[in-house]
Symmetry: C2
Subunit: 129 residues, 2 copies
């Protein structure tokens, strides 16, 4: 993976912790966050059921165990509900197609810009990888 | 769990590593070991399939993951195929009813005595627990 060089343009949105989320924005964020998290967890559950049903030997069982450990840690890292981290959380979800901008309607432009910026960064990293 | 005090009677069977397993004894040991291990692994697999099929929410999935990690470590510890450890391995399996003395027919009395001795020790620990 190649990390893109820092852009020459100055960063225009506020630094970590400076972004204030209004009550209505927090409600939108919480709802979108919970929906994306629940959807991803349901995917893991359904996949685990399917995989478990097809297991024939112990090595496949330990593969499932390892996979679940990895997915749990990944999901724990990804869904970190803290104001200063939300731009990254939503940026990732936007990038992965787990959320659309439609789901984030009602957030102020400063948040949307920060979220989009991180989603764009991830898209760029993907292309360079 | 209460660890029983050491018996006053001197230990009569050879120390670790001094016990020599003949070729025919090794064949008997290997067969019994493999059968018990495979049976225990099959139990874990069948139980995991059943549990996975009934999962409704993520917390149950992570419980299954945790349980599988514990079982894997437990089985790794329990089934240690090394000459000097076999008395403990078979002693445990005898104690748990995963093997009978019938399965160990053909082992010389020194091995059987050491295996029984450990199985008896475990039974005593269980009663005291």
């Amino acid at each position: 993976m190649t990390i893109p060089a820092p852009s020459a343009a100055p960063v225009s949105y506020p630094k970590e912790g400076e972004m204030r989320w209004s009550k209505s924005e927090r409600a939108i964020a919480r709802k979108s966050f919970d929906r994306a998290l629940n959807q991803e967890l349901q995917e893991v559950i359904q996949q685990a059921k399917k995989t478990a049903a097809e297991i024939k030997q112990a090595s496949e069982l330990w593969e499932l165990e390892h996979h679940l450990t990895q997915r749990r840690k990944e999901i724990d890292r990804k869904y970190e509900y803290r104001g200063s981290r939300l731009r990254y959380v939503f940026g990732s979800l936007l990038h992965e197609g787990r959320l659309t901008e439609h789901d984030l309607r009602g957030l102020h432009e400063d948040k949307l810009e920060a979220i989009r910026s991180y989603a764009d960064f991830l898209a760029k990293v993907d292309v360079d990888a």
